[in-house]
Symmetry: C2
Subunit: 439 residues, 2 copies
Amino acid sequence: MTTEPLRIGLAGLGTVGAAVVRLLDQKRALLTRQCGRPIEVVAATARDRTRDRGIDLSGVQWLDDPVAVAQADNVDVFVELIGGDGEPALSAVKAAFSAGKHVVTANKALIAAHGVELAAMAEEQGVLLNFEAAVAGGIPVIKTMREAMAGNTISRLYGILNGTCNYILTRMEDEEIGFEEVLAEAQSLGYAEADPTFDIEGNDTAHKLAIMTSIAFGTRIAADDIYLEGISNITLADIRAARDLGYRIKLLGVAQKTDRGIEQRVHPTMVPIESQIAQVDDVTNAVVLETDLLGALLMSGPGAGGEATASAVIGDVADIAKSRPGRQHGPALGTPAKELAPYEKARMRSHEGGYFIRFLVRDEVGVFAAIAQRMASAGISLQSIVQRDDPDSPDHASKAIILTTHATMETSIREAIAAIESDGHLRGAAQVIRMEPAG
Amino acid sequence: MTTEPLRIGLAGLGTVGAAVVRLLDQKRALLTRQCGRPIEVVAATARDRTRDRGIDLSGVQWLDDPVAVAQADNVDVFVELIGGDGEPALSAVKAAFSAGKHVVTANKALIAAHGVELAAMAEEQGVLLNFEAAVAGGIPVIKTMREAMAGNTISRLYGILNGTCNYILTRMEDEEIGFEEVLAEAQSLGYAEADPTFDIEGNDTAHKLAIMTSIAFGTRIAADDIYLEGISNITLADIRAARDLGYRIKLLGVAQKTDRGIEQRVHPTMVPIESQIAQVDDVTNAVVLETDLLGALLMSGPGAGGEATASAVIGDVADIAKSRPGRQHGPALGTPAKELAPYEKARMRSHEGGYFIRFLVRDEVGVFAAIAQRMASAGISLQSIVQRDDPDSPDHASKAIILTTHATMETSIREAIAAIESDGHLRGAAQVIRMEPAG
């Protein structure tokens, strides 16, 4: 066995980058035993050279720009931890491929935006593009889909892919506190950004979902063509009503093959309280993969955090350390980039599933019947109907009506609700939450 | 890219073997796209050549013995699906290695008994020994431990590794029927063998646990040195008491690093009802891996069944198809076989954890106090104490006393129970069930 080290050039020394450097040093003996050769960081770059990161960079060549690291003669693998879907990450990764280097990245934005192009470059050069850390942090979902599930045909996948949202929803349910208050708490704990929009409106989930969808269905990545609904309008009333019906509310990313194309959607979802995914709490992530051979495979674990993300990066690097230059590699997106099919979007209005609908109505005779009639006219089959006092209306001037439906077309739901709203009985807009897994 | 097919020689055409042959044919286009070359079964053998398995073997060379298949010149990978820890599987796998072939096997008994020796042979020859299907069926736990978790230090792992036991325990709880009745039902459904001993007494779980322990801790496989307790003495009364306390009973295999060595144990276990592992029902398997970098990673999915097991075999074969002869491989057991440390067993009496103890006692004054006194004398800190009517004693001549303890040494529990039994208040033996995860 060769004992030549695998030489890493690393760009980006934030939390994850610093953890990678520290762990490659701390775990050197273990990794050498596992990989048959040492892994060494030989070159690095970051925006700020002088910051104290608590890591020893004394043996590491400092270069001033990521492209220089990616192209350095003594680098075998370029590890991109800069982030962002544009420069300087994109040019640096391309430079690495042009120089015949393997690339490991944790950059979901980059893969979501440019994954097909980058996979094609890697395949042309016969090098690896590994990005386990880009999806669901420490959960090995890319490896599982790309390698372990060879030969499986995936029909649906869904997951809790954003720790911030899951933390907020968990706390709202456990502590009975409203969205805004929990968000502020999450921000003070560092679980949510100062501007949380990207997380709570589902964009982050969508990036990760788009990458998984491509691998699952052999289609080109379509991160900008995803139905998106965040959690900012989920109220305690929704969470309580869900619990009363035996459900929890989770922000899921769902990708599903239908005969109308592929559905990619991110939205708050009612999941049965006794399902495994309902037990995934706080910042933990989870992914469920449904295939013809395996039925359902669930994986849950840390979706973020410096060490968990660094672990995924190191796993990707270790796979390269165990391989030899010139070996044949599996394609980065499971399917060779040139053979990826176009993404055909299934329109959301033709989505079929169960729905939870909560109306606040004036407490007047005939309202309940009018709503029931509108649902019936739209051909919607109801699973349950509950009418109760509106806890936020102590004068009993309004009531809450909560419906759940059997599998129904989204377009029927939208029609029925538009009709009900035009009838003038509602106080405020109807709340609609999809239910999953349907059927 | 080479388009030469990867050529498979397959021994054993039971449910799994037939599924592998069928799926390699059905999924040929998909696998070729994923692996960059076709996978073809070129030689096969089984005890009975003539049986109708619903598969097409017309292009496959039939050989009369597994060694011949393993050594055949046109075979690149020997797939061993014979089963059993002895002959003919063992000699055939060794013959394959001697001939420089890769081996894929689903044979947990073989790996549990001879895994270290076989891993050493594979490493000497520079070929792969893949055995994903041997542990937890379709769940990619070996790949995750061997590859994705590179650099992680595992502290504990536990899992539901036997579908038969989990089916029985789930049905007992859901349907409130006793062990014997559910077992008979499981047998009629094909979920339990005619002689179910190997499953229900925990031996099957122990085999899988021993393999995972070796990979997790870099120690030699010690399948015969595992504390073993099956589920045959779990009663409905235990299950009901567990539920009342907020627990479910699962048969877990647990491996844990302690400062006294490694604990390997298989026993019925009380798990908190809101934990993810408590929601793993019926024949589904699950594994939890606790590491320094990832915290806890949970995977659940099908632990058995022809297609799920075949999927794991095909994943292993696909990994080989993507590689090239002569590449450097990661060691079969994660650590090079020659560097595996000896297994140092932590004695069960020094196990520390929570305990559930159920006594049936004569309904006499002072019994409760006597039991409490014995527990206190042994230094055991109680978490909860419940006394109730014994539902099986309608004359109220006996009561049930149910205790749960804080973390306690097993030796203290054994002492206390021996003392309580010698006091003569008990009707029947005490029931002791460990609680996990402790702390």
